[in-house]
Subunit: 117 residues, 2 copies
């Protein structure tokens, strides 16, 4: 047993070294967590699920999810910032659609996972 700088006892030094060796960069792991965090909200999951079916404008999404346009717009801003959705203006109407099929895959995998349990 060894004490590290944090006063934590180490039991299996070798396994720790092994896990550490295969651990991706801190930065990458933080990004992975942030991606998941973005998907970790029912409103945003519903938005993505709807946009996976068809392009929709803000007020359509608001009607579909029975929420205010403001609430939807705030969430779309987050999804936009991560490049998950893109938008297209048509007059004063703004149409949103998916811009990242990786994320779509994640939602699908998670859906199948939940449905199996």
């Amino acid at each position: 047993m060894v004490q590290d700088s944090c006063q934590v006892t180490v039991i299996n030094e070798q396994r720790i070294a092994q896990a550490q060796a295969q651990m991706p960069d801190e930065m990458i792991l933080v990004e992975v967590a942030e991606t998941f965090k973005l998907l970790g909200d029912p409103t945003r999951v519903k938005i993505l699920q709807a946009l996976a079916v068809t392009e929709l404008c803000v007020c359509d999404l608001a009607a579909l999810l029975e929420m205010t346009s403001s609430a939807i717009s705030h969430q779309l801003r987050l999804l936009r910032a991560r490049g998950i959705v893109r938008y297209r203006k048509e007059g004063k109407i703004v149409y949103y659609s998916l811009d990242d099929n990786h994320v779509q895959t994640l939602v699908e995998v998670s859906l199948r996972h939940v449905e199996e349990c």
Copy 2:
């Protein structure tokens, strides 16, 4: 254009109906979001990444992530509650390992996604 109960104007009634028809149950979508939320924290992602390599006890994880055993234990409790990790007692030491390869798949897909960008 139609006004629904929430005072939101509907632009594309047909598309909304289409999206609604393909929308999974509210309950399932909430569970999907909760699964993602659980993966949406750097500490938990690191724990899962480490356990994907090898079984580890709480203090090993604490040493690896340079955090207190208490903080790790709290996170493991959440992962345990969702059936994502399982544990095995060996005397006073508690070894944790992964108990859900779906989740492992999600992390892998997300890792590849982040690394591509």
